[in-house]
């Protein structure tokens, strides 16, 4: 039975991990560019899950039934609207605090997180929401004494997540926008002296982070089908763990950290105890921050005086 569980959880873990990686990208990019942990990012993901469900409901109401159009429409809708959310949040709550004390943006972020949660709860109700299964069918093969089942949805998620991450890596490496982001991350004052509008770049980073979270929101909603207004909290902390594990500030680190965390958590859940899997993830976060705060791919933190 071990073989079957191990492989099955490997598949689950990779799927989950790729989604963690997408959300972790938002954390890591914002931290890299303004040194702040966007506590509200998990709740932006939650908003995108609601938007995905709304998009699906509206599109199917208008009679679109085929899977590619449905998915494409929902993706575009969710990514655009979530991007606007990211932009608005940054403008309203973080930009005025850029010159303030160290704790101020963090507390403001907590406030935004509470606002988003209650806003979704008031606007949409406290019960769990669901979406119908869009893609039926799975791939099943026997291995050893058990069997492994890979649903088509999971394959789609893996492919979509990797396409998203590949697109982002391309943007960061080869386009002008990416160069501006990297320059602002390295040295903000110098970048602005050289003519880069750093305020705008920071807004772009928030939008990109929110867009990646939106992609994750659509994919997770497809896979698990249900969510509620509280879904952002736990997954936000886990995605942050993934970002830290890979090295905060490093984009490939976020993706790698996400995959590793996803696999580790799924294996723990399958082989040890499913009730305590959240405790395991939090414990992993604490251990990493104690023993290797720079993560796998990050540089050691140097405090300049």
């Amino acid at each position: 039975m071990m073989d079957g569980i191990f492989l099955q959880q490997m598949v689950n873990g990779l799927t989950l991990g790729s989604v963690y990686g997408l959300i972790a990208i938002g954390y890591t990019m914002v931290y890299g560019i303004i040194g702040m942990i966007n506590f509200a990012h998990g709740d932006v993901y939650m908003i995108s899950a609601y938007l995905a469900a709304i998009g699906l409901a509206v599109l199917s109401f208008f009679g679109i039934q085929s899977f590619p159009f449905l998915i494409l429409g929902t993706l575009i809708f969710t990514i655009v609207v979530t991007g606007v959310y990211g932009f608005v949040i940054e403008r309203v709550a973080y930009k005025p605090l850029r010159n303030s004390t160290r704790l101020a943006p963090l507390i403001s972020a907590i406030g935004i997180s509470l606002i988003l949660q209650n806003y979704a709860q008031i606007a949409q109700g406290s019960r769990q929401q669901g979406v119908p299964t869009l893609l039926e069918g799975a791939w099943r093969f026997d291995v050893g004494s058990g069997f492994v089942q890979i649903t088509y949805t999971k394959i789609f998620i893996l492919v979509a997540a990797f396409v998203g991450m590949a697109a982002l890596t391309y943007i960061i490496k080869y386009t002008k926008l990416g160069r501006m982001c990297r320059a602002t991350q390295q040295d903000r004052k110098m970048a602005s002296i050289l003519g880069i509008n750093t305020d705008r770049v920071i807004s772009y980073v928030f939008i990109i982070g929110a867009a990646m979270a939106a992609l994750a929101g659509v994919l997770i909603t497809l896979n698990y089908g249900t969510f509620d207004f509280y879904a952002g909290f736990i997954i936000g902390i886990k995605a942050f763990t993934a970002a830290v594990l890979g090295g905060i500030g490093s984009l490939p680190g976020a993706m790698l950290g996400g995959l590793i965390l996803g696999v580790a958590e799924s294996q723990f859940s399958g082989l040890v105890n499913a009730d305590y899997k959240d405790v395991f993830s939090f414990g992993l976060l604490v251990v990493i921050l104690i023993f290797r705060p720079q993560g796998l791919l990050g540089r050691p933190l140097v405090a300049k005086v």
Partner: protein
Amino acid sequence: MDIKKSLIDSVMAGLMALIVFGPIVGVVLDGYSFNLQPTRVAWLVLAVMVGRLLMSLFLQTPRGLIISQSFESSGSGVHVLPPNHKSMLRFVLPAIIVLAILFPFVANKYILTVVILGLIYVLLGLGLNIVVGLAGLLDLGYVAFYAIGAYGLALGYQYLGLGFWSALPLAAIAAALAGCILGFPVLRMHGDYLAIVTLGFGEIIRLVLNNWLSFTGGPNGVPVPSPTIFGLEFGRRAKDGGIPIHEYFGFAYNPDLKYIFIYAVLFLVVLAVLYIKHRLTRMPVGRAWEALREDEIACRSMGLNHVLVKLSAFTLGASTAGLAGVFFASYQGFVNPTSFTFFESALILAIVVLGGMGSTVGVVIAAFVLTVAPELLRSFAEYRVLLFGVLMVLMMIWRPRGLIRISRTGVVPRKGVLNTEGAAQ
């Protein structure tokens, strides 16, 4: 006055509001289909546009320009009073004590419970004030120490037969130990990492309490004994073969007596903690905390042992939370994990932040405001969390250091130390 610019700003804001609020507020999911709510969206967009227009016009007036300039620089942390300043508290404090003694005789049970809850949050706020306000260590898992205090009493009664009085110091010590244990790993972390790790700890404690059914009773919780005084119980009939207090003293049974007792002890404990904190702030320990908050590297280069400073802040804060937990447990009669979520931590943080980082008076006022206000605004209960969030964001934008800043009396140098007659030295 560039009215055209303001109008354009307003329209852009309205457009954004439409995109932001349109889907989530306007299209309410109902199973797999949806219902439309266009009027709610229209109101919200209108409010945003009008608000943005007003704000944009205001910021162009001379007064508005001054205000927007003040955003560019951050203010100083401490407000210095003239040397001979006598605090108003000389008059206020005795008045409050007299009021507090008279209070239980005139109040009914409902007001009594609200005041007890307020005092508990004052205690929590004071503890977190030491950690966040004075030492600058953002602790988001503070509710874990609160839970240790509360569960300490409950489980102590269940497994070890502890009563209220024996659990009080023990819970404080247990919470302090937990504070020490938590403090060690986070020594090297700064700001944001510290916040997330402490958040993780808080969640771990809550999840363990929730899932460890055999030991902690899981989501069902654990009952808590009533407090006793010298072995006399407060119920109508005594359990465990004790004597109810009203029989011992010979007066009629009063169901409020238990709460009056809790209130009295709680008030005395709060006074004690206030006094201790007041003294500590003026001792080297307190100054070391404030130095740590302002600039840790400068603090270390001055020779302060940052390990001891951080650990002392954590330990003292945690023990205060443990005390508050014991009171909360006896007040409520049972404990379960739902009282110790992250939202509680955020609430206590809001008390400290709103009241003023490090300011004792501010924390007391904020604790009462944040406890009494939800009771008064019962009709708005749905929007409670939303209002908290908005309040936190607004406070950070308007006054990052809190409503009441810490003030310190200035010191005049002794004659003979400085030549104050103006001759150059």
